[in-house]
Each structure stands twice: as C-alpha cells, then as structure tokens.
C-alpha cells in the first residue's frame, strides 16, 4: 500500500473507525472534531489548518452537514462551518463527503476544490445494502419469539436490499415471497427460487405472513392494507424517513412495527467504516492517486 496522508474532520463513529482503519493500512491520519471518539492510531490535530494541511485526501462526514451550514460533528462540541473547512483546504487536495447538498457542491466548485460524494457511489450503496440486509435479519431475530426456519416472509421491493435480504433469508430456511414492480423483477425473483407477487397487486395478498419487510420508500402499507395483515405479523420497515408504513394506523390496529434506520452504522459500524474506506480508495484511484 502506497502510504498517503489523510485528514478526517467531523462525522460519527463510522468516520472515527475509518480513521483507525486508514492508519492500520499504513497511512498518516490526523483527525479533528472527533474528540469524543479518540480513534486508535490517529493523530489528533489542534486545528482545522493543522489537520488539513498536507493531506492528500480530506474525509468529511456522512451526512456532510447537520443543518444548512455547519458540518455534521456529533462526536465533538465544536461548531465548524463549511466555509471554515473549505478555507483551510487547497485545490490539490481531494475532499470526500457523504450526502453533499447542491449548495455545498457549488461552494466547493467556486473555490476550485474537488468535492466527491462517496454516498453517491454504487459500490458503497450495494455494500451498505448487504449490511442493511444482515442487520434486518438481526432485528427480526431479536424481535420475534420464534426461530426464522420455516417462517413465511414477504419482502416488498426487489431493489438492492430486497435482493440480498431474500438471498440470506432463503438460506436460513425461510419461505420467501418478494414483490416486484416489473416482469423483469419477477423473472429474477423466480430465477432465484423465491415466490413472486406483483407490487401493484398487493391488495388482498398481505395475509399469511409471519414477517413483512418493506424496502420501498413509498407509503406501501397504508391503513387500509394494514387492516388485511395478520394480527401477529411483525412489520419491519427498512426504507428511509418517512418510511413506507403508516405507523400511527399500525399502532391503532395493534400491529407490531419497527422502523429500522441506519442499520449499517447501527449493527455493523466497523463494516460501515470499511465500506467508506474502500470507496474512498476507489475515488483516489480514479483521480490518479495510486494506492498500491
């Protein structure tokens, strides 16, 4: 591995662990605004300037901002404006952050800084889907008083998470049904040996399952549909806020629901950090910076 210099500024436990992983790979790593985490092996910088100076790559948080202007720094008492961060950096440095708002990207361009969104990268999104699917299985195991073997599970959606989740559940002896929007989806669902159902024909087809996972970021389970679900079906929503379940209606009906958000960071923070690391390596490699 060709040793580089990294600065990790702000972020949550994923960025803290990322700093340690980068250092473990032999890179020089300085951190700033992560003082509540104390990442192993990394040097703690005194200032933004000290952290950023000389860094080949500057790693910024995911999400980048806590509100419109300040960096996301949940492990620090400091308030860092994006402006202050950008001021401390130079155009030859590569900046990597996650969920970058358009306005921030615009500011970077105006200053001649290269700001890359690692959360936009397909390889990260797929790897996160794997971590989400495993986390979803952990949540299901923790939240039921039965084993998974022999249970009947319905997964709404055959996107990235649905694909991995179905694969793992079937391997655990679950009877898996997946809903898909297109004939193409349904052909793949059949190819892997799952039962398939059209996502636009779910009305009247939601009974008879022990667990129901939603992966679709639309209101899939409204009050009317929730009424057709068995009383003891566990509903786990994996789609991001506001989710695909009418949680209030579900509570009224006495249905057990879980909105499992941010599973990669929750259930597997070290893997989540390693995924960001691998993606940043890919970004650097594409920018002509050899890592090995």
């Amino acid at each position: 591995m060709n040793p580089l210099t990294f600065a990790v500024i702000g972020g949550d436990m994923r960025q803290a662990k990322l700093a340690s992983l980068l250092a473990a790979d032999g890179h020089a790593v300085s951190v700033f605004a992560l003082e509540q985490a104390q990442p192993e092996r990394a040097m703690i910088a005194d200032s933004l300037n000290a952290a950023g100076k000389g860094a080949d790559c500057v790693v910024l948080p995911l999400p980048l901002l806590r509100d419109g202007t300040a960096l996301h720094t949940p492990l620090s008492d400091m308030v860092l404006t994006l402006d202050a961060v950008f001021t401390a950096l130079k155009p030859h440095q590569i900046l990597c952050g996650g969920r970058i708002p358009e306005i921030a990207q615009k500011q970077a361009v105006e200053r001649g800084l290269l700001l890359v969104d690692y959360f936009n990268r397909e390889e990260l999104v797929i790897a996160n889907a794997v971590a989400t699917a495993e986390g979803a299985i952990q949540v299901a195991m923790q939240s039921t008083s039965t084993i998974l073997l022999g249970t009947r599970v319905l997964i709404l959606g055959f996107g990235r998470i649905g694909k991995v989740l179905a694969h793992r559940l079937r391997a655990l002896g679950v009877s898996v049904t997946v809903s898909g929007w297109s004939l193409e989806d349904l052909a793949w669902i059949q190819a892997y040996g799952y039962k398939g159902i059209r996502s636009d024909r779910l009305d009247g087809a939601l009974g008879g399952y022990d667990i129901l996972f939603n992966t679709i970021p639309h209101l899939m389970l409204n009050a009317e549909r929730l009424r057709t679900i068995d009383r003891d079906t566990l509903c786990i929503d994996l789609s991001s806020q506001p989710g695909g379940i009418d949680f209030a209606a579900a509570a009224d009906l006495g249905l057990k629901t879980i909105h499992a958000l941010g599973l990669p960071g929750e259930a597997a923070p070290l893997t989540a950090a390693a995924i960001i690391r691998d993606t940043i390596y890919n970004i650097l490699s594409e920018q002509g910076i050899p890592l090995c």
Copy 2:
C-alpha cells in the same frame, strides 16, 4: 385434532407458552404454579388436585426439580414437593417432564405413575439444536461490529449444533471451518463444503479466525490454546455448564468471550414451547393416545 385434557404444573416461560399452544390446538388446559405468567387461553387451577384431576397428560417442568425435592417453579411463589405432585395424580395419567433425576423416576415407578422425560427425546434435542444454532448467529451478530459475510469462523465440534450452525453460517457467506473427531465427521464436513480440521490437532491451528464457536462440553480452549487465538477473535461457547472455555484465562488475555446458555428459551421461547408440544404429542401417540 382429538381434544384432550392437559395440566401444566410449574416451569418457566416455555411451559407457560406451551399451555397457550395446547389450548390453541383445542385442548382443555389447566395450569398451576405459573401465576406470574398468566398464559392465555388456559384455566388457572386452584390446587394441585384441581389441576391434575382428569388430565390425560400432566406436563411438568424442564428441569423437573429446582433442587433435590421441589418442583422447578420460577414463575410461582409456591413450593411444591415432587411428593405432593405425585400424590395428586393417578396411574392412568401420562406425566411428561424434562431432565428427570433417577430418584424421581424411581418414586414415580413405585407409585405406578408413567413419567416420561421429553428432554431425552432425539427429535426434541435436534429441534433444540436448530434453535440454538439460530440463537448463536443472533448472539454473534449482536456482539460484533462487522457483518458476517466474509468472516472466517471456526466451529469446534460437528454434533447436532455444529451441523446446523455450519449449514446456516455458510449460507450467510461465512468461510466455515469445522473440527471433527473422526474420519467419518471429516468426510461429512467435506461433503457439505466446509473446511475440516481434526479435533485432536487443534494446537497451533486456532489463529486466523474472526469468530470461534465451541459446541463441545469439554475444556477445549484452555489457557495454553487461548494464547494462540487472535486478540480480536470473538469466542462464543454454546456448550452447557461449565462450558469448554477457561473463561478466567480468557479474561486475563483480554479475549472477548460469551457463554451463551439456554438459547432456545432465551432467543426463541415460542419455538422452544412448540418443540416441547410436538414432542409431547409424539409421546402420547406412542402411548396409544390418538391426537388426530
């Protein structure tokens, strides 16, 4: 289902849930010494006599006794001697309990009572191994900061739990190595596509794993062997007390260990109850009592 009359006397949450499951199958169920659980659908009896009277089958706890003489009644304030229980019952009734000591069996015989140990039944032990294996995966997921995909796992022992655990882990994308005592075990390990290692050749072969599961009820991991395990390997012991790991030595070495006991009841109490129900149905069927 041919409706019968059951009495469930004492026991923990498994027996409480069992009472509900039996009632849900249409049987008449009365319970005693389970007052902290209030099992749904079951009738609460006023006395041992009221509970036992007329029952075709009397379900006793697992383990049967809390000490040498009193029934295991963790969900009750009552103290019931085995003698008192036996006095309330009649020879034509079938008694089922778990982990029955020889002395208790002898007393039953003297009174002409048929006392069958459901924990001795192979079908129950296998089904419990399945629940234990799933529970072990849940414990591993909860206790690591990574996902299971791509991890390297060593399972000590290819008995019932080792067989199911290896099967499920490989399905989750884990690189599975299993230790077996005999050439027969190793042939099976290979047949299922796992890596194999002789259980008598573990010295010097314990490095390089992320997780190590022990299923063998002997001291497999003594201080000397523990010293050869990687510092960040998680050791999960699934064997019953006192377990197969020198936990004190492991703590001195800074190794992370977990002794996961009673996983079926812990992680999947409803499944644990259903397993006992199915086994009791088998026992009744073999005693000539038709259930359907």
Copy 3:
C-alpha cells in the same frame, strides 16, 4: 384461463412443444409447417390460411427466418416465404416471432400487422439465462471425470447467465470466482460471497482453475491468454457465435474446450417452450387480451 385461438406456424421443437402447452391450457391451437413433430393436442392445419384464419395470436419461429426471406421451418419440408405468411393474416391478429430482422418488421408495419419480438423481452431473456446456467452445469458434469464439489471455477462475466451460474455453482460447493467490468459488478459479486476479479485485469490471473466458463460475447480468451491456463482446465464457452475463445489456438495447446450453444432448447426444450408461452401471455396481456 380465458380460451383463445392460436396458430403456431413453423419453428423447431420449442414451437412444437409450445403448441402442446397452449392446448393443455385450454386454448384452440392449430399448427402448420411442423409436420415432423406432430405436437400433441394441436390440430394440424391444411394450409397457411386455414391455420391463421381466426387466430387471436399467431406464433412464428425463433429465429423468424432461415435466410433473408423464408420462415425458419426445420421440422417441415415446406418453404414458406414471409410474404406468403403475412398475406394469410389480418391486422387484428397479434403476431409473435423471435429475432425479427428490421426488414421483416418493416414489411409487417406496411401491411398494418402487429409483429412483436418475444426474444427481445427481458423476462424471456432472464428465464433463458436460468435454463442456460443449468444446462452449463449439466455440460460441466458430463465433461469432467470429477465431481463439482470442491472444484475451483472462474466465470467470465456477471451478466444474466453469470449471475445465475455463480449462484448455482456455489450452492453445489464450488469455489466460485467471477470477473466483472465495473466496481458495481464487483460489489455485487462480493455481496453474494463469490471471489471477484476485474475483467480488465485477467492477464496472468487465469491459472489455478478446474473449469472456466465464458459468458462474454467478445474474444476473452485469445491465444496469449490460453497459454496461461492450466493444461487440464476445461473451458466452456456459453457466449453466442463466434464465442469468446480462440478455439483453434486452444486445440493447438491441447486444451479441452466446449462451445455450448442454444442450451435452453438443447437441455430443456419443454422449459424453453414454457418460457416462450409465458412471454406470449405477457405480450397478449399488455395488448389488452385477458387470459384469466
């Protein structure tokens, strides 16, 4: 199933079996130019006009034409020009054929006929990939003197066939490596637990495999690369003519190669016919013709 009237004109065993399958579903089916097959349950028509007259749907061969002008009729001595076929049909009928050349499509449009290519449909292509993957495993089993368990297999390409083939081989205990072009492909390859390799970095990485499957329709294995393959590696090419292996160079090197073409029809003709049937049902359904 809402009974319709079908005409199946020309084609190979797949169309012949398709005629039987359609009849088995309750439809009225007449066949023409399939006289060497004698499909069960179908009526044999005397003429193109008799066959086509009154048919809601006319099924044409895959590929549609044997040369530029005549219908593909390997199971018949007749020569049918496309012109003659089109003349026998009416605009309200739905025509389905496979691999339709542009010129044929143009002719249909000029006559006001609706001609749909079922071989263009994604659900058919995916289902065919499944049949191809299973067929490839059969070919590998037949062509080796070892079992698949424990063998090391490299699959070039992670398209439809690569995806299904990798899935099935891993399930059979094979050590599976897959090459992919993009970081996205490689992320998916890892997500399913296979080893991954960049398709643009295959030079020097082709040794150490027992079987090598090519699914990429480019010259992946030229003479130079073939020289780096182990002498006893079996090379199976699943890509369509001219394939991705320099077969002459492979023969010179003494390498064992197989070009497995048309596997769905070869290894599983009934499944191949059922796939076409399902696709035609989808086409009809999208044209507003209800089947059930």
Copy 4:
C-alpha cells in the same frame, strides 16, 4: 509425502486412475492385470511376483472377486486366482481390497496376510454418497426436458445419499420432500428446511412430484404404489441391485424409470479413484505407516 511402494493388481478404471494418482503423489507404483488401461506414470510389471515384490501396500480390486475364486480383472485378459495372488505376497505387506467375501478374508488370515476392506470404511462410503448424489443430479438433468428449478422432488430415504442429494437439490431451487423412518430423521429433515414424510405412510402420498429418487434398498415402489404415481413422474433408483422399484410393473404402467448404478465410477471416475486413494492413506496411517 513419504514415498512408498505400491502394487495395483487388477480392477477397473478406478484402480487404473488410482495407480496414476498414487504415482503423481511421488510413490513408486507398479501395476499388473490392468493392461487395457495403461495408467500414466505407473510401471507395468511382468508378473504377479514382480508387481507385489517389495510393495508396502498392495491394492486389490473393488469388488475383490469376479466369481468365487478369480480376481476382478475387467481390464485384463488374464485370469488370476486369489490363491495365486496371495502366494506372491508376504505378511509384512498391507493388502487393501473392496467388498471382500468372508472366505477370502479367511484365506488371508490363514496365510498371515493383513487384508483390509476399503469399501467398509465410513469415510469412503460418505464420499461415495457425495459422488452418487452429484451423479444422480446429472442423470436427472439428462433425462428430463425441463430445468430443475421449481420442480417438485421426492427422495425416499434420508441415509447418506438422501442427505447429500436433498442438500444439493434444494440449493438448485427444487422443492424437496424427503421420507424418513424415524422421528429423528424427520427432525433433521425439518432442520434443513425440507418437507418431511414418514416412510411408513407413503401410501397415497406419492402423487404430485416431477421426479422421485429412491435410495432405500427395499421394494419401496411396488406395483400398487406405482399406480398412484403421476404418469410423467421420472423415477430414478439409486439403490443397489435389485433396487427398490418393480421395474416390470413400472414399464407396464408406462412410467419412465432409470436404475442408476455405480454412479461414482460412471459419472466421476477420477473422484472415485481419489476417494479410494484417500481411504488407503488413512488405512496405512492407522497401521503405523506415515505418509507425511
């Protein structure tokens, strides 16, 4: 590998390939009565004495005898009596043969020769079951016009072959039902996620399957039961002669049956030879002859 001297006398292609495998491991190997095979790397001996002289281990055929007295030598024109073979050997040599009749064992003992039956060894029988299961899948693929995905398969018997066959078929997306004799078997069948059926309750339960594999060496499918099987069910018998199907009755009913015998040697002769080699190594190791 500690180089030894082997003599391989008689046998079929498995013994011929075994000779090559032993030589490839660095051992000195002489062969006799295998002249139609010409195994690579092995020395062809002129006489029984020349072959056997100085051999640490003498490998004899499987089965040992062609009839009561002569060695099984299908790849040779020679007739070798067991007596002649034994006369050429010395007590310090280890003799390994397969399916050794009692009378042959008695003769060996009388001459002070150690004759070990490698076909009796559990590790060989299990590894053969794996090869049989894979071969059975190959036979099924070759003998049907459909793919396996989505088919419904019944396996009679959950012994070694049944276990591996069920495992592989489920992995290929087959809906697997297995019959078992005991509650223990049925618990294992359930543990792996297959459907189970009692082997003593098969009457009236044999309909609705696409393929039926028999692994039980008893007449499981008599005329009466065959009458209840679907007309297009393929019946594959994997049990040794005379098999478990009334083949004459099946032919009368128009059922398609296959009696697949000797699959390891048929479908995977090199694996079959490697299995014997590994077993002989185990035998030698247990006799105190170190191989590495």
